[in-house]
Amino acid sequence: MSHRILIVDDEPNIVISLEYLMKKEGFQVAVATDGETALQLAAEFVPDLVLLDVMMPKKSGFEVCQALRAVPALVATKIIMLTAKGRETEVTKGLALGADVYITKPFSTKDLVLQIKSLLA
């Protein structure tokens, strides 16, 4: 049984790379390019892990994170925040809102995969 990964990012090229990486690791992948879609998708797809960008249209990654944490069905879902905003305050904010890991872009693909695997283990 493969884990389900929800990728949320508005940069098409980044989505492409993440999707490729996750599928290569054998995960089931869903993609959302804005916050609202992400929330709908999460409810249907019930992912084990969400890769969440912060700067997105309609709903920011912080809002999505907070909303996801409010859903009882998604209590076990891990959240990795992926963002180009690397300031200390934003890292703290993301973790405070319920993210499990906060990774700044650009990231190492190898590290990201290891991080995901350890979270899902």
Binding site: D10, N13, S17, M55, P57, A84, P106, K110
Partner: protein, 922 residues
């Protein structure tokens, strides 16, 4: 025996003796053993009030109006006897402020105004010159009468004698020389002339003794006592009338006027002020003078009426001028020696007056008129000259000569029109104009410089119009029509019946009008504004004294032994003892006896007494036991000076702290601005970082993936590499634009400014984008008709703007159906270019925002969200460029109906058709 040379010799001998006395007194003063530090000398020197007007004129006036001569002496008597406190205050104030003259006094009181000092000087000079003329006339007449002995011949009328033979001219010259010798030998720092005062005191004695000698001779030599004269006089009706007082109500009014007038004159005449105030060596001398001087006046008037009556009896119908009785009566009885003595007495009266008056006037002319004027003439360089004393003496000498010259001129022109007494009264009325500003200045703090100027000027003008000009007219110097019919024939303006005021003699009439207007203007104008700082300060010094300044008035000390019984007298001994014991306890002492004899104790006693008998009485009572004088004005002034310095310092501090507060506020504001800028910079950097990281993320991810898995199939690999290349391009474009914008914003961008044809730029920009438009199948319409519109700009930069606007439009229009249209147009002032698309449009609230950095329009107001292609820096850069050339860049759009970007640049004069206005621009 009384040949002219004898008289001349006697005159010079007398003047020589006077000079010797003066010289001696000056010597004594220099060695510190003042000859005049004596209340007797002070009182006698005040006798300078009695001039030839008294010496000869009193008898003349008595012959004309009986005891009508008296008010002239009652005024000063009243002043000294009843209003000595005014004089006392004047002396104290004058000493404290080192006042040199009446002009100085007035000027100093109203904020040290030079203008005011000058005005007082002018009034004094104009007013007193007739008086000086009078002295010249008296001396020259008495000389002429005496020289014709044994005949008794009235002298020729003034002006009838040729100038060269006019003894008055020589009298004037001799007096001028003598005054110069007396008054301007050296410059006295205190403006005091001890030698002169000594000589004046001697002169007072000489004229008094001379007059008394005549009186004794007339009463007991010619008649058998006063009773005899009066009895004889009563027998002749014409003479007997002089034995009654005034014969009409108006005459009583005149009495009042004269008392009033002479009261002020004895205070305000320049020579009186000089002797009584300036030359006073010790305030305490006044205490003796208040009865000695009236006594002197009493003595010198003692024989006036008997002499007048005797003269009238003796010279009945002989045509002898009553003004000369004093001289002619001894002559008629062959008393040569007495006649000569009388002549010397008259000379004495004249020289005394002329010397003091001209010295006082010359001081005023010099200090308040000439020096202020000279110091203002920069070419003379006086302001920087160290020693001006020689110049001052020179000016005073010339002033003396000129004043006496003017006196002589007045004598020649107007001297015969009036009896002696009337001339004197004209002067009195002139100086009476000083009364409101001087007396008011001593007792009312509200007087201002403007008020004083207005009062003095108004009073002076009325005086001149109602008294001086008529005196000129009566002496034939002016046409006298205006006296009878008024100025310009207006009856109301008749100078001696102004506004229909009749029934008064001319002096009273003048006084009523001039003082009324004077006082009214002084008070009225003063009330127009609050005294300024300087005036208020002087007012405090003049009016207030120590008490008003709130300075404890006691320096002296008195012990419990004195103060306790004193308090006991008013409070009862028991209560006083209780109070003193309480005071002792407050000061931590056990018994009343331990209280030290100090200022605090005195102040306590005074306060204690004040509660019972009022502060003024308390002060007086305490003064009776306190050993030392109250605080001198000098010290008060020092304290005031310090106080005002402290005030000034405090003000300075306040100002400084105000400045500091202001500076702090500015700094705080600047700091806030800096912080805001710092935040903006932080945000900018954070945004830039984000923008740079995004393409970097893709590049790194794909590169790593390709590196790790070399077996990725070819199409995948090509796709990934394509992404890497395009993200790298995006990254470098972003970096370029950031650098470009930084250059623009910091002003370091290089510009090549030239005349640019807008249409050409548009065409070139469109050509460079033809391929892109074609790829997306978007139609680009060019409005090519408007060639030749010239603007001043950098051609490449303008191209950059154009390309940016066109690619923006291309970015947002839909593929296939997109349309972009470029319009060009111009008014006389500017050229407008518009780029219109049929894209989604921009909502109103975003239309400003899109010109901010990293903000891109996407139909929502979210930042950096729905990613259109591009950096979000194109529009900010474009706007910077357009604004650099004084143009504007803006957008017009409705959501859903496309957008229209427009820029306008100032049109360059000299293009092909500047006046043509065309359409094509929204």
């Amino acid at each position: 025996m009384l040949q002219s040379w004898v008289i001349v010799l006697a005159s010079f001998l007398y003047l020589g003796i006077l000079f010797a006395i003066a010289w001696y007194a000056d010597r004594r003063a220099d060695t510190g053993r003042s000859l005049i530090a004596n209340p007797m000398v002070y009182a006698l020197s005040l006798g300078v009030y009695c001039t030839t007007w008294t010496f000869y004129g009193s008898v003349g006036r008595a012959a004309a109006s009986g005891i009508g001569f008296l008010p002239i002496y009652l005024g000063p008597t009243l002043l000294f006897a009843l209003a000595g406190f005014i004089l006392h205050k004047m002396i104290r104030v004058a000493k404290a402020n080192r006042i040199t003259s009446i002009a100085d006094f007035v000027a100093s009181r109203y904020g040290k105004s030079q203008l005011l000092g000058g005005l007082v000087t002018v009034i004094a000079v104009v007013g007193v010159i007739p008086y000086i003329a009078l002295q010249l006339k008296a001396v020259s007449n008495s000389f002429a009468i005496l020289a014709s002995y044994p005949e008794i011949v009235m002298p020729a009328t003034a002006g009838a004698v040729p100038l060269i033979q006019d003894s008055a001219l020589y009298v004037a010259m001799i007096l001028a020389a003598f005054t110069i010798l007396f008054g301007t030998r050296h410059l006295d720092a205190t403006e005091r002339h001890e030698g002169m005062v000594a000589a004046i005191a001697v002169e007072s004695v000489v004229k008094l003794v001379a007059f008394l000698a005549v009186g004794v001779f007339v009463v007991w030599g010619m008649h058998d006592g006063v009773g005899d004269i009066f009895a004889q006089a009563a027998a002749i009706p014409e003479v007997a009338r002089r034995l009654t007082t005034a014969d009409s109500p108006a005459a009583y009014g005149t009495w009042g006027t004269l008392i009033f007038l002479s009261l002020f004159a004895s205070l305000l005449l320049p020579r009186q002020f000089q002797i009584a105030v300036v030359e006073n060596v010790d305030e305490s001398h006044l205490r003796r003078a208040v009865w000695l001087f009236p006594f002197y006046l009493f003595l010198i008037n003692l024989f006036v009426l008997p002499v007048a009556l005797a003269g009238m009896l003796h010279f009945q119908g002989a045509g002898v001028d009553a003004d000369t009785f004093v001289l002619t009566l001894p002559m008629a009885h062959q008393q040569e020696g007495l006649a000569l003595f009388v002549y010397i007495g008259g000379l004495s009266a004249a020289t005394g007056m002329v010397i003091v008056e001209t010295i006082a006037l010359s001081t005023m002319v010099c200090n308040d008129l000439v020096m202020p004027a000279l110091l203002r003439l920069p070419m003379l360089g006086l302001a920087t000259r160290a020693d001006l004393s020689g110049l001052l003496l020179e000016i005073r000498r010339w002033a003396i000569a000129v004043i006496l010259g003017l006196g002589y001129l007045y004598f020649r022109v107007a001297g015969e029109a009036y009896a002696l007494v009337s001339i004197g009264l004209i002067s009195f009325a002139a100086v009476a104009q000083f009364a409101p500003v001087v007396i008011g200045g001593l007792f009312w703090k509200g007087g201002t410089r403007d008020g004083a100027l207005a009062g003095l000027a108004a009073g002076f003008v009325l005086w001149a119009y109602t008294l001086l000009l008529p005196s000129f007219a009566k002496s034939g110097w002016l046409p006298d029509g205006f006296i009878a019919h008024g100025l310009f024939g207006i009856e109301l303006l008749r100078p001696q019946h102004l506004f229909g005021l009749t029934g008064l003699d001319e002096i009273t009439h003048c006084l009523v009008w001039s003082l009324l207007v004077n006082l009214g203007a002084y008070i009225g104008v003063s009330l127009q504004r609050v005294p300024n700082l300087r005036e208020a300060r002087q007012a405090t010094l003049f009016v207030g004294g120590a008490e008003a300044a709130g300075i404890p008035g006691w320096r002296g000390s008195a012990g419990v032994a004195d103060l306790l019984p004193l308090a006991g007298r008013f409070l009862g001994l028991e209560r006083a003892q209780e109070a003193f014991a309480r005071h002792a306890r407050q000061r931590g002492l056990k018994a009343i006896e331990e209280l030290p004899a100090d200022t605090r104790l005195v102040n306590f006693a005074e306060t204690l007494l004040a509660g019972a008998i009022g502060s003024a009485s308390a002060r007086a009572m305490v003064a009776s036991v306190v050993t030392e004088e109250p605080l001198g004005i000098d010290e008060v002034m020092n304290i005031l000076d310090e106080a005002s310095q402290v005030r000034a310092y405090t003000r300075e501090l306040e100002q400084k702290s105000l400045e500091l507060t202001r500076a702090t506020a500015e700094l705080r504001e600047a700091n806030a601005r800096l912080q805001q800028l710092d935040r903006m910079k932080d945000d900018f950097i954070s945004t830039v970082t984000h923008e740079l990281r995004t393409p970097l993320t893709s590049i790194r991810a794909f590169s790593e993936m390709l590196q790790e898995d070399p077996k990725i199939d070819l199409p995948q690999r090509v796709r990934f590499l394509g992404i890497i290349v395009s993200e790298a391009v995006r990254l470098s474009r972003l970096i370029n634009q950031i650098l470009d914008l930084a250059k623009l914003e910091s002003g370091r961008a290089e510009w090549t400014v030239a005349a640019v044809d807008v249409a050409e730029v548009i065409r070139e920009a469109a050509e460079s984008l033809t391929v892109l438009f074609a790829e997306k199948h978007v139609i680009l319409e060019l409005d090519g008709r408007e060639a030749g519109l010239i603007v001043l700009a950098d051609r490449d930069r303008l191209m950059q703007v154009m390309v940016n606007l066109l690619s923006n439009a291309l970015k947002f229009v839909p593929a296939e159906s997109g349309r972009v249209k470029v319009g060009v147009g111009g008014t006389t002032h500017e050229v407008r270019v518009s780029v219109t698309d049929n894209g989604p449009g921009i909502q109103a609230e975003d239309q400003d925002m899109i010109f901010d950095k990293f903000r891109q329009g996407a139909g929502t107001s979210d930042v950096l969200t729905d990613k259109p292609q591009g950096t979000g820096l194109g529009l900010p850069i474009s706007r910077q460029i357009i604004e650099y050339f004084n143009g504007r860049l803006w957008v017009e759009s409705t959501l859903g109906a496309g957008a229209c970007f427009v820029f306008a640049l100032p049109r360059q004069a000299g293009d092909n058709d500047a006046s043509k206005s065309t359409g094509g621009v929204p």
